[in-house]
């Protein structure tokens, strides 16, 4: 009885502390947690306010929503794919004006069913009503985030990061290894996985379009040498077939420049910022042309 009373007191005190803003929210300290925090914030805070939604993998996750513009929510999932973000948005019955969908080989990854179940099951409903139970208020995450913040404050992207990456021997070696892999071309198993992912994505896009939402596809730019490799060209062709420009809106190719990545796939922060600004321009001009 005393144990139950102690537990009830602790929970009540924590709920009160969270509600009164004494407990700072954490962005999550693991990949799964970060994805969950992002999805919960979208569902519980800004699902109805988001005009533009970005879904994708860790490649798109590198691009901060605020770099793209106001009223933008980035639901890209590290280690995941566009399907998960789209499914969450569909289950939440949201109607953003535009959904930007990252389309590349990450489509081969399956939807994160565990995450979706956690968000929309009974526990998810309870979390909606009791903020203290949300992943962002997980006590240990809050504590670790505070420690991290105290030790090292995050700095905004600086052009020097690009220079540091360019001279990194580790990066060079990694990209060489990636190029070797990419030169082997697309295997039949990978082709099937990508096509199967594309099929699921098409169904989700169709549901969104039926709700009057504009869906625009895009890919994250990358290292030129990697983009021009055999495997990447095969994947690009496959995806253009799966999502023909006659039926789907594609974002124009970003301006030619020497995009720098840390590993052949993920843009370094200054370049992620530049691509974010490019997305901002595209969205702006698209809205202007639509008469807004």
């Amino acid at each position: 009885m005393r144990s139950l009373l102690t537990c009830a007191l602790i929970l009540a005190a924590y709920c009160a502390a969270v509600s009164s803003g004494l407990v700072p929210a954490s962005d999550g300290i693991t990949i799964w947690q970060s994805n969950t925090v992002k999805a919960e914030r979208f569902l519980f805070h800004n699902a109805s306010e988001s005009r533009i939604l970005v879904v994708g993998s860790s490649l798109a996750n590198n691009i901060r929503a605020e770099w793209i513009g106001p009223d933008v929510t980035n639901l890209a999932m590290s280690g995941g794919s566009s399907q998960t973000g789209l499914l969450i948005a569909l289950r939440a019955s949201t109607r953003p004006e535009t959904v930007l969908v990252e389309v590349n080989e990450t489509l081969a990854r399956s939807t994160d069913e565990d995450l979706v179940r956690a968000l929309f099951g009974g526990w998810g409903t309870l979390r909606r009503r009791v903020p203290a139970l949300r992943e962002e208020y997980n006590p240990v995450s809050v504590l670790v985030s505070l420690v991290k913040h105290r030790i090292r404050r995050e700095q905004p992207p600086s052009p020097s990061e690009r220079d540091v990456a360019l001279i990194s021997p580790v990066r060079r070696t990694v990209i060489q290894q990636v190029l070797k892999q990419q030169a082997l071309g697309l295997s039949e198993a990978d082709r099937k996985s990508i096509l199967s992912g594309a099929k699921r994505l098409r169904a989700e896009i169709a549901t969104f379009q039926s709700r009057g939402v504009r869906v625009v596809l895009f890919d994250i730019p990358g290292e030129r040498s990697v983009r021009e490799s055999l495997r990447q060209r095969q994947i690009a062709a496959l995806l253009k077939d799966a999502f023909p420009a006659s039926e789907y809106s594609w974002l124009p190719e970003p301006p030619e420049r020497n995009w720098v990545t840390s590993d052949g796939g993920h843009l370094v922060r200054p370049d992620a910022l530049a691509f974010g600004h490019y997305l901002r321009q595209q969205i702006h001009s698209a809205f202007e042309s639509a008469g807004r």
């Binding site: 693991t30 993998s57 990854r109 991290k148 090292r152 290894q177 840390s262």
Partner: protein, 556 residues
Amino acid sequence: MRTAFGRSALLLSACLPECVRSLFRCASTEKIGKVPQRSSLTNPRWLVRMTLAKSHTPAAMLFTTPVFAVFFLIVFCLYYLPMMRRWQVGLLVAASFFFYAWNAPWLLLLLICSIAINSATSYVVARCSARARPVWAALGVIANIGILCLFKYGALLTGLAVKMATAGHSPEEGLVSLLLNLPLPIGISFYTFEGVSLLVDVLRHRSSDEPGAARRVEYVNESFAQHALNTSLFVAFFPHLVAGPILKARQFYPQIAPKRFRDIPWEFVFRTLVTGFFLKMVVADNLKDYTYYIAYPYYEGFGTVTCLVLLFGYSIQIFADFAGYSLIAIGLAAALGYTLPPNFNFPYISRSLSEFWRRWHISLSTWLRDYLYIPLGGNRLGKRRTYLNLMIVMGLGGLWHGAAWSYAVWGLYHGAGLALERLLGLAGSSSQDNRPSGSGLLNLIRDLARALVVFTFVTFGWLLFKLPEFGQAMDYLATMAHNWRVAPSINQVVPVVLFSLPVVVYHALHFPLWRPDEAAQISRGRRLAFDGAVGIMLAMIVLNSGTSKAFIYFQF
């Protein structure tokens, strides 16, 4: 698996953010097999593929899932209905079969087969002539060990034979392929050992009847049908079925009787379950997200401190995972009126390896002692033979954990440690386990230092569990020695320390600092503190549980 992609990933792990590593994690994840097409049914590998597909989610239910909570609630309510009292054993057997077959129904066939063999042979051993008894018991033991060897070591031994005969080129079809890809039924190591325990206990049983009277083993029922039902419960009782504690026939059978709701030890059940769920859901399930990085090639970018913290974190995780599971099993069984033996007794405060093995996975170590070490001669045949016996028992104990040579090396590592400890006269007796080696600060410091040495020895041994490829385990140690200039990673070190802290406190409170008679007196203050701790654990289960994953020991 040192693929080119893997090599690139290892170089990256040092300098890339979490999100980047996730890409590599997904890319290197092995693909799960698919359910077979009709034409492929002619190929026995469909069975393997089906099992691999299922291996994504563990066979049997997880104690930490809502579906298990519903299952247990239904069983519990039915079990204590007055009209069900006569059928309690049958109900538990049916529920246990349902629990086991949850994700892979066909595995139930093997469990039933094992139960049938053990029921029949133990029944015969209890009744046949003194001459025939050892023969029947031996046949039963051989059948049990045969099943275990086929499913657990078939692939390892076939692989070895193929390597020697065909220079590593393994065929893709036929019997050899089937053997190489045989699935490992969950809990097989546990229920096989229980079957052996039943047969040996029945064989060894000394009847208290009058000389000349027919031999009667109390726990082998006169009716074969009833004995088979009791044996089904003994082997398949769901709280302990998939990961122990390993039961002994002589301890369990006498408990099989009608149970009453009013006899439930509620306080014990509550505390045991809360502690078990806390260890599993808060400590182990959270630590696994960090100890995940003890995988090739992620660790290669970490510094010495981070590698050490991760390794000690894994040591804590494996304890929390397995001890948590055992406590949940003990609590659930107590709620159903059965007493399961304790499996852990604060192992990380052990001041010698011998003490560690008296405190860690107690049901396995006592099984090995009773059914292997003592029959081999134990310590009765001289020093050299004792050391040899220790090596044999620990080597086989290591292989019990998994069909990989690294497990055998892990066992031999412990065997060598135990032998060396005896040689140096450092192995204490069980009577000293709960008392300090003497009074005074010096003795306390000596005890603490010895506990630290044993904990470190054991922790380094777990590396072979985490990295079953021996080369990778050595590579981890090399990385630890080499990367001493690399700064500790806050993202890993801080959470691991925080999640390990409860287990450290849990152990520290039981370190023998005071005399046993003082320890035995539980003051009101301590009781209040204990209740408070249970309350905090319960709150943490609500607020800070990790993502649910299968228990580590399910794989054994």
